[in-house]
Amino acid sequence: MSSALTFVLVFGLMMGAVYLLIALGFSLVCGVLRIFHLGYAYFFPLTIYGTWLFISEFGLPLAQSIVAMVVVQLVLSVVLYKFMIRRTMETDELTLLTGLLLTALIIEQLVAWRYPIQTGVYLNTTIMDGIWKFGRAVVPKQLVIASIVAVVMTSLFALFFIKTKMGLAVRALSQDILNSQIVGLNVEKLYSRTMMLILLPVVVAMLLIAPVWTVEPAMGWQYMTTAILISVLGGLGNIKGTIIASFLIGFTHSTMCFLVQEPRFMNLSALVLVMVILIVRPQGIARSESLW
């Protein structure tokens, strides 16, 4: 029993940290742009397969391929913002949601066409190979590193929003667009930058977990579902709530895995948890009107 609890604790922390990276971007886009970014699912496959494209088709080394992939993602984010989100977010939300969803589906289909599963895509982004033991719990070193990176990155994000001028501006924007415009904030620029900013945690998360977790063209939906659950549970757009919700889901998952010994209940248990909390607290764990 004590062994199982050790596993629950260690894996709960690790899973929670990784989920945090996966959900942080979604939560931010909900908080700042106030849209339900259904296109978020494309970030995941584009990170892996975009990098792979530059490695396999252009012969670039891994590091340069990652940089090239990030540039592609940034450009795509700006294009999406300028030509789809900006034009429709105020007037036609349904068209916007459909457009974002279609974007994700198109990218998934393109990836599945060019790199079907049997192509053998594998990114060797392993930082440390092997396992570590924490008490009786055995964990892949790569996941421990991913967890540490997740915590550091989230802290930097929090500091950015609390301590920097731009962070303050984004927070103001997330609370009241009209008044932000009145006081002279460049809303377009902030939106555009936020679209680029939300990429970072997803890219880092995918690169770190790719050697251990699932990599396939349709993986985006699975990860986006986790991101949506966490964001809704935490209070849409609130970073504090996202942090708490990530670890709650992480511990729920690890409890199902190691205490109940049934990984297939992972998703079910998370859904039940979200539903129960929303019944008790419909706005989610934290206030959803503010970013922090």
Binding site: Q118, G120, T214
Partner: protein, 453 residues
Amino acid sequence: MRIKMLVTCAIIFAVIGVAFGFAGTVQADQKASVKGPIVMVYVADMASPAGSLVFSWLKVAAEQINESGGILGQKMKVIAEDCKGQPNLAVEAYTRALTNHNATIVSIYPRSEIVLACEAKAGEMYPDYPHILLAIGSASDEITYRIVEQYDKWKFVFRDQITVSARVPIYRDQIDFFHTLGVKKFALLREDLTWTESIFNAFPATKYHPAILSVPDYAKTLGMEVVYQKALKYRAGMYSPIFEAITASGAEGIIFIASDGNDTDVVVRQWYDSSARDLHMLLTGATGARFWERTGGKVIGVIVGAGEIMPLLSGKYTPEVPDVMETAEKYGLQLASPVLYSGYPDMFLIKKALIKAGGADDINAVIKALEETEIMGPQGLLKFETTRIPPFFHGAVFCDINDPTKYAAQGIRSALGQVQENGKIVFIQKPFEGVDGSIDYYKSVSELRKTLK
């Protein structure tokens, strides 16, 4: 004048008549000497990777057959009909195959429920559209029942896959192998799909054979114990907790029974980074193409089944079927295990049977020829069972019908290999004479892992 006109008209009609009649004869003669192609319609979910891949291999096989002279001078043509994985669309596609494409052979890949739906439709249409139904890769026992019960109505149905029931010898072989390695306790994992249920349950006795022990019970007869067993969700994505539980159970080895399409690359990656990483690991099937690359080499040390091994034995041991590795390279095709038991070798069996039947005109002769023809394919001996015993009749021969725990013919399907340095697969069993394989070549996972850069 009138008579003259009549004679002139008669001559004109006669000339025209002779001319057309002659032309008609020429056309008839041409039709007799230059027949259209023998059409195979392939019904599958073309959006799925395996569905389109199998089609590519069928087309290449037809091309190779045509290049080598076709079938008694007739070309083969393969046409795809997309059923999007839905039985109702598959039935529509099946109907089009017969009415629009005039198909001699309709092949369906791979889901048994789709085959069963089409089989019913095919029975209705067969009297007006005599043809062959070839189920590719379908394992359900039910496909056979109709053929046994009403042979005259369903005699045109064949399937290239071994039935679920016929897999018993494979699993026994694997347990025997663990036993030889000295394993006393092992974990048994299976994907939670219907076809794997029989692994956990005993087969009741039938009038053809006595009851067959389940895998755990069979292990007991060898003094071994299944200390952990679990049915895992298909493409579960998360296996780390399972491996930790297996380690805690004291297991010395793991057998994971999965099918193509499962995320066994994720299984291997998480096994590699778990406390179970030094246990013997045996994956049955499901590894497929570029598995070494897909796992970043983490598959090193894993025991793999026929899916990985078939290509290695192709060519040299299959004189009637071209080498699949060379073919894959020449035509730029993916080399995944589904194509090796699905479609590609079937085409050469069909070719042989059609030649034996004198062409595709007489379907009864084709059916008889299919029942009598055999070739050595990349999966081993390929022939159809002709004893009317469910669930084996008209399916690929594999196990002894009087004792399904034994192979009818030792072949490549039963071979085991181990992934060693740089992804090389080494035979740790001898599948048949002429192949260098021995348990002495087996190396421990921890030893092999040291070679991984």
